[in-house]
């Protein structure tokens, strides 16, 4: 199955059946655009020598925003992987904070300049600090869910990763333990087909990551990751069921990586030119707008206004962040250990 096979046109009535209000659809569009424009800005800053490193989720915005909107912000715990700018924006990260992070500024709330960009963290948004090591976070959310279950807290723990991460032992150990204890965890795989240069076929002999779910006795679903609405409508019921005690879910969103792995990589060296061109034509943001226009949900002027607003926000955020203070070098010595417990 490819992404296009799972995608079906939906009528305005169908959308309303899935309880997405016009405000939610508008929010989806805005978040996807914001994510893309921020990343474009970051990449420009990188090419100008002003941002050291960029790792982006371009092409995966629908998968990210659709899933992020299914969570309860400030209640549910999340361990989004490094491409998930879209998830972070939905959870409440502002464009200014995103730019502080991209520029490794002193006040970057994710790591205060201590980590590479896109290694998320936020206490208020319940985002666990992320490393560059892939799949480790899948076990952390299992621990979070176990703790919440012990305390009878009605939270869901969400962790995302790429399909490349599913080769690691931690992926398997996490699914196994979560399934044994029926923990409220959503394992969310954004399958973009590539682990840097390695096509998925080099890492697994199965067509879908979810084919592994049966081995662990875990519920699963696969969804077109280019369709934000479909993603929301798949993840949201899983979140609700997990919260209700149904146990964990493995959800695979089929999407693609529009850009290279990172600012330090050039995918033209290993990807066929036609493939890149083909995917570029199926940009999830353009598809979303086309369908909204087709369904006449909003006048085109409204969508244009959203785009213009995002453009202004991103430029302003970048300009503002650029003038923010850098970390003091000596600050590097602090907080190796937390000094006090909160009891």
């Amino acid at each position: 199955m490819t992404a296009s096979e799972t995608r079906a046109p939906r009528s305005r009535e169908m959308l309303h059946d899935y309880l997405l209000s016009e405000e939610q659809l508008e929010a989806m569009y805005r978040y996807m655009l914001l994510s893309r424009r921020l990343e474009e800005r970051m990449m420009t800053l990188n090419r100008q020598g002003r941002a050291d490193f960029v790792i982006a989720g371009a092409g995966q915005e629908a998968a990210q925003v659709g899933a992020g909107l299914a969570l309860k912000p400030g209640v549910d715990y999340a361990a989004p992987y490094y491409r998930d700018l879209g998830v972070m924006l939905v959870l409440g990260m502002s464009p200014r904070e995103a730019m502080l992070n991209a520029l490794a500024k002193r006040d970057d709330p994710n790591s205060f300049g201590r980590q590479m960009p896109s290694h998320w963290a936020s206490v208020s948004r319940r985002v666990l600090t992320q490393s560059s090591v892939v799949a480790t976070q899948l076990i952390h959310v299992v621990g979070v869910a176990l703790a919440a279950k012990m305390r009878n807290d009605p939270i869901v723990a969400f962790a995302s990763c790429g399909e490349g991460s599913t080769s690691r032992g931690d992926f398997h150990e996490a699914l196994n333990f979560a399934a044994i204890h029926k923990l409220p965890v959503i394992f969310y795989v954004e399958n973009n087909g590539y682990a840097i240069s390695e096509r998925m076929e080099k890492a697994m002999p199965l067509p879908h990551v979810v084919d592994r779910a049966a081995a662990y006795g875990i519920q699963s679903a696969v969804v077109d990751g280019l369709d934000a609405v479909a993603v929301y409508q798949t993840v949201r019921p899983a979140v609700d069921q997990a919260r209700g005690g149904a146990g964990p879910f493995l959800i695979e969103a089929k999407c693609f990586r529009l850009w290279s792995h990172s600012s330090d990589d050039d995918q033209r060296r290993y990807r066929p030119r036609e493939e890149i061109e083909d995917w570029t034509r199926r940009d999830p943001i353009a598809l979303f707008r086309a369908r909204i226009e087709e369904d006449c949900l909003f006048p085109a002027e409204d969508l244009d206004a959203i785009e213009a607003g995002v453009e202004v926000d991103v430029r302003a955020a970048a300009k503002w962040a650029f003038d923010q203070p850098d970390p003091v070098p000596g600050d590097a010595l602090g907080f190796v250990y937390r000094e006090v417990s909160d009891g």
Binding site: A121, S131, T136, I139, V142, L146, E173, F177, Y337
Partner: protein, 325 residues
Amino acid sequence: MAEVNVLEAVRTTLDEALAADDRVFLLGEDLEAGGVFRATDGLAEKYPGRIIDTPLAESSIIGIAIGAAHYGQRPVAEIQFADFIHAGFDQLCSEASRWSYRTRGEQYLPMVVRTPWGGGVHGGQHHSQSIEAYYAHMPGLKVVAPSFPADYCSLLKAAIADPNPVLFLEHKRTYRLIRQELEGAPAEGRIGRARITRYGDDLTIIAYGFMLHESLAAAGELAGEGIECTVVDVLTLNPLDEEAVLEAVRATGKALIVHEDTLTGGLGGEIAAIIAEHAFEDLDAPVRRLAGPDIPPMPFHHDMEAFFLPDRAKIAAAARDLAAY
């Protein structure tokens, strides 16, 4: 007064921690049945739902403890033998030890990983090893290796109360061998403090775990020969109590560092470097290390195992030689 051995000290302290704080829970292999060393005997019945048997997957045992600690619980994970902890190395090295650092202390992990270590128990290659050097090399992960029951109590208690991840090493050989009256022992331990357990002005022996006991035995023997040793129980391997080590070495000018880990890259090298850097002008002899030879530790046969391990006789011999220098 009643004496307790190390296992009883550990079990009692876990029991007390579970009773005192609902957030404390234990996870690991075979814990519900009491654990292979019986350290959790009876706890599963007493605290239903808080002693959790896990699959045989060390990375997840540690990773789950990370997530639960992040959430606000106080997990105490057990790795059945230290020799098997390396499957969880990534979770300790890449995640747990950096959690606070990455967020400037906003996120932190009040978690403990207990694990039995050390040789002299005929455990062969994979039930005898000293793993401390790998893990003491991770800023952000505290590593504790007590020697006496009272310290097992007070430091395990401190480890559970600590807002940082603590690797708590329990020397298998001490489990049933070392007994102590706990009456009068301080209830609270301070992680990061070494203790000078014996004063003498001829030379200073620095050791931890079971080697501390062998060093004390050697010191006792040497006292009969007129050689008086200062003996330092390192107790916390990371962060090291540099001041206590330096104070003890400055007092005698001669240092003998003993550990059963293999020599190269062992903690003795770090301690020797600290002494050389900060106490050079107080040295009266070259710093000496007595350690396991650089072979994969450790051979199974009794005689080969004894050949591998430092013991009181080898310590006494090295000390005599150093005293005479």
